[in-house]
Subunit: 217 residues, 2 copies
DNA sequence: GCACAATCGAGAATTTTTTCTTTATTAAAA
DNA sequence: TTTTAATAAAGAAAAAATTCTCGATTGTGC
């Protein structure tokens, strides 16, 4: 199915915009709980400390129109953002590497939504195979291949040690996984059509430390 | 002490560069273990799938000079990067919120270096106060104020539930913390001189899902 | 020792992203 | 009903980041 039936009304957002969208979404959900029906870009900008025209440009990717003098309908915007980001779909995912970080993610999603749903976890450590973290059982790694045939999972979360990351990533690709959320520091070499989202913690630390050192001159 | 005594020889890197530097660092550490003495920008670029002139520009912020036909000295580069990113300093930090994510970070740093060293963890949950995660004891939240006076901690890691994040962040600032690594979705409103590094997981998911949906047209 | 090929480094050109400006629309006030 | 002020949206300008181009340098092979 190459053409999804419905016209693509939204544009391709630049990545900086894409990274800001979940921030808007979280803020909007908060103000909606407080009963806000309409909200304007200047108000959003004031709260999030960013330029109001930036807000307008960013939100325009969802296709939602605001009204002058009123702003956007909170409810509409939230739904358009969820739709645009894919947060309203199920987005089932496999996780490989149920160590510290892996089990944290598994437990985490029981409380807060990650935007994806981990439906199975795999590891090679016989100590953790068979245990449950949150509501998810940790299965033997080899089971991944079999399970991948039945369930149609497109997303893989990679929380293994660095030195096995490449191998596991290749296995994931062979299982039909299309996108990998990579928490390791490994630089994955995979086919071009595979989407790799690197979320190495040291990247954040680097930015933080540098800004801290700069601020201290 | 406003002037650090030694001349600042490095420039202020743009943020995209800053985020790439830890990737270079990891790669360089790997090739150095394999015995590589010198490495050129084209080789780095080929491995990391990025433009070689980008590599040259990025690495130039460290002040290290490469030689034509040879490239950079691996050892020198690694040290310059560690120095530039601050990874060779201790960077002691407090962590507040020893739930799933918090305890994962605590355990994580025992195996892999984060770039910062968590020296104490705090929580309000009497169930976890007194327990140890990795080599760190979880202390009662109120102890933070007392401990902050003695130790001179500048970095705070925020892994609390969203609804208490603002309050805890303010407490951190009152304890003398200058930089906050924020894992919550809360939008922190703090004095301008406080550095906030947001690392909300949904940001990464957003980019991943959008790219996945785009690729499926 | 001399030509040759590789690569750094600086700056120019291009592209992307952000910010500014203008116009048009809308609700509220007069 | 008319005027006024606020705001979205589109496009222009500015700034930032990336990619391209070229000259200088250095090691390798002839």
């Amino acid at each position: 199915m190459s053409f999804s039936g419905k016209l693509r009304k939204h544009k391709n957002a630049p990545e900086p915009t894409l990274r800001r969208l979940p921030v808007y979404l979280y803020f909007l959900e908060k103000v909606r709980e407080e009963g806000t029906i309409n909200i304007s870009a200047p108000v959003i900008g004031k709260n999030l400390k960013c330029d109001p025209t930036q807000v307008v440009k960013d939100l325009s990717v969802t296709g939602i129109k605001g009204k002058p003098r009123v702003g956007y309908n909170t409810y509409e915007l939230i739904h358009a953002l969820e739709e645009y980001l894919g947060f309203n779909r199920t987005n089932e995912a496999f996780l490989v590497g149920a160590g510290n970080l892996g089990s944290a993610l598994l437990a985490y999603q029981d409380n807060q939504s990650l935007g994806i749903k981990l439906i199975a976890a795999f590891d090679v450590d016989t100590e953790i195979i068979g245990t449950s973290i949150g509501s998810i059982h940790v299965l033997e790694y080899n089971k991944m291949f079999h399970l991948a045939n039945r369930l149609n999972v497109e997303i893989g979360v990679l929380t293994t040690p660095n030195h096995v990351a490449q191998k596991v990533a290749e296995d994931m690709v062979n299982c039909g996984i299309k996108a990998i959320w990579n928490f390791t520091s490994a630089i994955l070499d995979l086919p071009d059509n595979i989407i790799v989202q690197n979320t190495s913690l040291s990247t954040s630390v680097a930015v933080l430390l540098r800004r801290l050192n700069d601020s201290e001159k």
